[in-house]
Amino acid sequence: MLDIIIDTTIRAGTPILYATIGAIIMEKSGIINLGIEGLMLIGALSGFYFTFITNSLLIGFLAAILLSAAAGSIHGILTTYLKANQIVSGLALTMFGTGITAMLGKSMVGENIRGLERINTVKDIPFLSPVLNQDIMVYISILLLLLIHFFLYRTTIGLNLRTVGENPYAADNAGINVHLYRLFAVVIGSGIVGLGGAYLSLVYTPLWIENMSAGRGWIAVALVIFSNWDVRKALIGSYLFGGIAANQLRLQAMGTNIPVQILQSLPYLFTILVLIISSLKNDSTKQNQPESLGNPYDREDRV
């Protein structure tokens, strides 16, 4: 029983983890992206579509990265070089993603592909088998998380990126190209969010359903705050959230007395709770929010 819970938790948490990591990279550069939901859908559909026509999961995943990165670059260019409002542009991206995937995905509804399979390393060892018998994308997500943490805190490009998010004037003064860095962060981040979407349509439920991300993108936006902009804490947040979302289904199936509506709303109640808790500790010195998050950069606009 516990093994099953661990297993569903990891599988449900992984797409959210990808989305959260992607969002953190963007926000570290100072760009808020409320288009995560839309990007996940674009990743999910393009992953499914290219796997369907080429029969190759690898091509599917690559297409998901490329197409969502391309969609994300719209947000990137708008909010950097064109100094657009980040909130409006992000919301537009979500609406765009939801709409275009619903339209272009019509022919894919009801089609089937062979989803990504698990690796079978060990047999029936409690605790270990649900952890070690996952598919490769689960392990890649954790590897990616470590890589990104290393990149942000142990490389000069990562340091530059954090500086851009904290104080773009200081960054510019040090000869760092602020707009380019932000665009780069948004494009890379969007690609990773797209992978999260593709995980849904190629691994979790190998199908295309309209609006299949079902709010996971929004949850990722909230988890960025929960994890205090730290990719390592994003792992905890994603699994916690994924666990609640997936296991409430299991509870429903087992037939408890708790009304279904309450069970279904658990993940969202949890999101609200998370936001309340993380804003309560807002005044602590450990606040990690990039200082210039959400502010467009204009060199000649200094006060």
């Binding site: 000069t156 904290e166 104080n167 040090a174 000869g175 602590s284 200082e291 000649e300």
Partner: protein, 502 residues
């Protein structure tokens, strides 16, 4: 001597405003050259052009005899030009180490901490600085932060160092230390451009002075021609006074009494600690101190923007420790906030609307619906009385100049004759004309019986206007002085936490 930097006919316009006009001068190797001018004379614009932040409309720049085009700060650093900006270009949430590393020109992809830490520590040692590389930057004092800014230039081997108003935030002791250091750098053959509006200190450090006025060079003086009155005349057109002659004396009656007050800041650290203060009726009490020592908390607690967690404030014997901003205003406490654009005004509302923001009781101006006619009449009176200059009617107040915005705030705050005014850095960033106007207005109201708590970091200003000066350090009142019986050095020491030695 060799010329290291030559400026030829530099001009820059912002819209219709001519910020710099045909500016030409040379900088020699190993000299300290000061650019002196009022706020708004075009000093900062010029420096931003030299460091590649702005592009000039016209003119040429030569470094070491070669013509250069500077399109970004990166270009400037490449040519050995670096600047310490008035608003530091530092990242609060990064460590000292990371702040220095960001600025370092050549570095590898993967950070080898020991290697770079050694480079930085060597420079620290050379100048006898003791700063922990792993501290987050916000924990450093302003003086220390400035050191980090200067060291950022040294690690990149800059030959031309530009310091924009570096002494504004320093105690007199820290300033002295800075000057010693500048002489040291000069000996090493570095050239320094020093920007300031404080004539005395400029005469102390500079080899030559370039005086700017309204965007143009009015004069270039050599060391032997330095003369305070002459410089002051060239810079502002008048000789500046050291003290106002006031024909009003504070009374002996107590007005405001703060006892054992404690307040915390947003980070949960103490802002005010066992703070005591007494203000008499019709007194201008100056509060000296380096910003960040609790001044803001003091103003906010007094005006009801923040609650203290211990202690007592009484006004005319009435306990007003707790209360909203509205209640305290009605009690007669007016406020000139620190950040005039963010806190003093509603930037997108008109001048008229901003002037009536605090008229809570006045039914003439409107109850539920606004009475536009009365509002305009009321506002026009204030506009005339305070000489507020604004172009188009109904234009948002944010389009006004800093001095006029400040006049709008003062007009509003003083319109209902408060008993006490809490002024937090009221003249920061204003030109001398507007500064004088604000001082005179406060003195005029002093005659009518108003008291003022005048918080400033500029000792010259405090000596000019205050009846008494209290020094604040780490949230504590270090003691009172009468400006006539004390020198700036003593106050400077206390601003740095050293208690009166008698």
């Amino acid at each position: 001597m060799e010329k290291i930097l030559e400026l030829k006919e530099i001009s820059k316009k912002f819209g219709n405003f001519q910020a710099n006009k045909n500016i030409s001068f040379d900088l020699y190797k190993g000299e300290i050259l000061t650019i002196l001018g009022e706020n708004g004379a075009g000093k900062s614009t010029l420096m931003n052009i030299i460091t590649g932040f702005y592009r000039s409309d016209d003119g040429e720049i030569y470094v070491n005899g070669k013509k250069v085009t500077l399109t970004s700060p990166k270009d400037a650093i490449k040519h050995g030009i670096g600047m310490v900006h008035q608003h530091f270009m530092l990242v609060k949430n990064l460590t000292v180490f990371e702040n220095l590393l960001v600025a370092l020109k050549d570095k590898r992809f993967i950070i080898n901490k020991n290697r770079y830490a050694n480079i930085f520590l060597n420079i620290f040692k050379k100048f006898n600085l003791n700063i922990d590389l792993d501290l987050p930057l916000w924990k450093l004092s302003i003086g220390e932060q400035q050191w980090i800014e200067i060291i950022k230039l040294l690690i990149n081997d800059c030959q031309i160092l530009i310091l924009d108003e570096p002494t504004t935030l320093l105690t007199p002791q820290e300033t002295e230390f800075l000057f010693k250091f500048l002489f040291e750098l000069k000996k090493e053959g570095k050239s320094i451009i020093f920007i300031s509006h404080k004539i005395k200190e400029v005469m102390e450090v500079s080899d030559r002075i370039v005086i700017l006025k309204k965007g143009e060079v009015v004069s270039i003086l050599n060391k032997e021609d330095f003369n305070e009155n002459r410089i002051s005349h060239l810079m502002v057109g008048t000789v500046l006074k050291n003290k106002y002659d006031k024909d009003v004396k504070p009374s002996d009656d107590l007005l405001l009494e703060i006892s054992n007050l404690y307040a915390k800041n947003d980070k949960g650290l103490a802002d005010l600690q066992d703070f005591n203060l007494v203000v008499r009726k019709s007194e201008i009490l100056g509060i000296a101190g380096i910003s960040g020592n609790g001044q803001k908390a003091l103003a906010e607690v007094l005006t009801g923007l923040k609650d203290p967690y211990k202690g007592k404030i009484s006004l005319n014997g009435i306990d007003i420790t707790y209360g909203t901003a509205r209640q305290k205003y009605i009690h007669g406490i007016a406020h000139i906030p620190e950040d005039r654009k963010a806190m003093g005004i509603a930037p997108d509302l008109t001048v008229e609307e901003n002037l009536i923001l605090k008229n809570f009781k006045d039914k003439e101006l409107g109850g539920i619906l606004l009475n536009r006619k009365n509002i305009n009449r009321y506002a026009n009176d204030l506009v005339e009385k305070f000489n507020i200059q604004y172009g188009v009617k109904n234009a948002p107040v944010r389009l006004l100049s800093g001095g006029n915005i400040q006049k709008v705030i003062i007009a509003r705050e003083l319109s209902e004759n408060p008993t006490i005014l809490v002024a937090l850095y009221p003249t920061r960033g204003l030109d001398i004309g507007s500064q004088e106007f604000i001082h005179q207005t406060i003195i005029e109201h002093q005659k009518k019986g108003m008291s003022t708590i005048y918080i400033s970091e500029d000792l010259d200003e405090l000596f000019k206007i205050s009846d008494r000066i209290a020094v604040i350090f780490r949230g504590k009142n270090m003691g009172y002085f009468e400006p006539d019986n004390v020198d700036k050095k003593t106050i400077g020491k206390m601003m740095g936490g050293i208690i009166k030695d008698d």
